[in-house]
């Protein structure tokens, strides 16, 4: 029963991805330029870290390869989570404007339809960048590469759950776009700096309120030490973020008020 349900949702995801991909390919030039722009943007940050580590080779036990791994996993995970679920990135604005109506008309649960409804070219650039630097700069063996894939999916789950958290704020506070945006910036910023820099109460924050520890902490440890317990904790954290995100969305949805907007999905 549950197996056929999962298969049904996977088929739905495939259909959305196929449709969104063909839409992106209609504007091929714009798609390529946006993806390349993100590649370049991430490359600049990596250049900063190269400069930094050329001068200071070890910071709290972290070396250049660890920061490259950090950028690879966070860019690829963020890219995977947002490339195919881009609607969740703007969830707070959609809720505030009462734009969920159109998505509520579909059969099955609301979250998958809403999440998969839009694709992002820049996030695909992130995804490609993450894999590119991991393969070219870290040069992993097969075992590490397989673990990397597993962790990229976990990090994508963290970002999907986190987007549900911050988007759901709009159900409770009405206009929550600025708050949601600031929370997102904090998450992205902490996800792209070595986790070893933070300790004490900040560490607690990074595994709860701003769950960047599941992006820049545990996955990097898992790959560096080939540590399956760190990988398992990453997955546990990712599932906790996703489940709590979905719960806050479903609870908030009860407070949702239609915007009575007339619109057409193109």
């Amino acid at each position: 029963m549950w197996f056929s349900k999962i298969l049904s949702y996977l088929r739905l995801a495939r259909a959305y991805i196929k449709l969104n991909w063909s839409m992106q390919m209609e504007y091929r030039g714009a798609f390529v330029s946006q993806a390349l722009a993100m590649f370049l943007n991430n490359g600049t940050w990596l250049a900063f870290w190269m400069l930094f580590f050329s001068r200071f080779p070890v910071i709290k036990g972290w070396e250049q390869a660890d920061v490259v791994t950090l950028w690879a996993i966070s860019a690829a995970g963020f890219g995977l989570g947002n490339a195919f679920c881009w609607n969740l990135h703007n969830l707070a604005a959609m809720v505030s404007r009462g734009e969920l109506d159109v998505w509520m008309l579909y059969p099955r649960s609301l979250i998958p339809h809403l999440a998969l409804g839009k694709m992002s070219a820049t996030a695909i650039g992130d995804l490609a960048f993450g894999y590119f630097i991991y393969i070219v700069m870290v040069r992993p063996d097969l075992q590490h590469f397989l673990l990397f894939n597993l962790l990229v999916v976990a990090v994508a789950v963290v970002f999907i759950g986190f987007n549900l958290w911050r988007g759901s704020l709009a159900f409770y506070f009405g206009q929550a776009e600025v708050l949601s945006e600031q929370w997102f910036f904090a998450m992205i910023t902490f996800s792209t700096y070595p986790n070893c820099l933070f300790d004490g109460w900040m560490k607690v924050v990074l595994y709860t309120l701003i769950p960047a520890g599941f992006v820049s902490g545990l996955p990097v440890e898992a790959l560096r030490d080939f540590d399956f317990s760190a990988a398992a904790f990453t997955w546990l954290g990712a599932l906790a973020v996703l489940i709590s995100g979905a719960a806050s969305f479903e609870l908030g949805l009860r407070r949702y008020q239609s915007g009575n907007l007339l619109g057409m999905r193109s």
Partner: protein, 266 residues
């Protein structure tokens, strides 16, 4: 000449006033500045500790944080000048702007300057408050704020001219966002926004000094923490020289661009 200065002053004043009207919105964005300064503190604290040195690149930890406060305030105050020109050209709004009794590039530059000064002051005030709480004051000479104001103003003019050159390429290119991204990322890395130029490898430092980027960010920030009248004179001289060169380039490109304009109807 006198007339142009009067016109520029009027446009800059209007832009600054309209930004002051939305000071709450400007202030809300400074949350990110607080987050990034906190992360920089942690990063550099660890770096100073591991290097077992009280001074790196001629800066103490406190000076480093104040340096980064200025560089972030400069970088985060950048207005959407190139994108605005791109939109004006693409939408045809340029035809209306050309009717104004002020040259189009001068109008754009003055408006961007007015907007940027307000944003910079808001960013700097927030950043200074955060940095003061994190590391306390540094040994600031009375001349430092004056040097900062003069050199930042010249840096804004120089950066504005860079944005103008990129924006004007909209007459020939389909999309200038890629060019803008390259420019902003170069000024971020080579301008010393994240790491002072003193800590660059020697080969990079000697190369970068011939480019305008350090004079946009590194120069004013460095003078603020290390005020020196001789260096101030050199920086102002170099900034003025680059402004003259780039003014010539803007005039040239704008002249070519005007030949491509064809407006119909009303």
């Amino acid at each position: 000449m006198k007339n142009s200065i009067r016109q520029s002053w009027a446009v800059a004043k209007v832009a600054a006033r309209s930004n002051l009207a939305y000071i709450g919105e400007v202030a809300s964005r400074t949350f990110f500045l607080a987050v990034i300064l906190f992360i920089f503190l942690k990063l550099w604290q660890a770096t100073y500790r591991e290097s077992a040195s009280a001074v790196l690149g001629g800066l103490s930890l406190s000076q480093m944080l104040w340096y980064l406060t200025v560089t972030e305030a400069i970088y985060m105050s950048a207005p959407r000048l190139a994108q605005q020109i791109d939109e004006d050209v693409r939408s045809g709004a340029l035809a209306v702007r050309l009717l104004k009794p002020i040259s189009y590039p001068l109008y754009c530059l003055s408006s961007a300057l007015g907007e940027r000064i307000v944003r910079f002051l808001a960013n700097f005030a927030t950043g200074a408050a955060v940095t003061f709480c994190l590391v306390g004051p540094f040994d600031c000479t009375p001349a430092a704020p004056i040097m900062l104001l003069v050199t930042v103003l010249l840096a804004f003019v120089l950066d504005g001219l860079g944005h103008l050159i990129i924006g004007l390429w909209a007459f020939w290119l389909e999309d200038t966002s890629g060019l803008l991204l390259i420019y902003t990322r170069l000024s971020m890395i080579l301008g010393g926004m994240l790491i002072p130029m003193e800590l660059f490898p020697d080969w990079l430092k000697s190369f970068v000094l011939f480019l305008p980027f350090p004079y946009l960010v590194w120069g004013p920030a460095h003078l603020f923490v290390h005020s020196d009248w001789l260096q101030f004179g050199q920086l102002v001289g170099l900034q003025s020289l680059y402004i003259l060169v780039m003014l010539g380039v803007v005039n040239l490109i704008y002249g070519w661009a005007l030949e491509r304009i064809s407006a119909h109807g009303g």
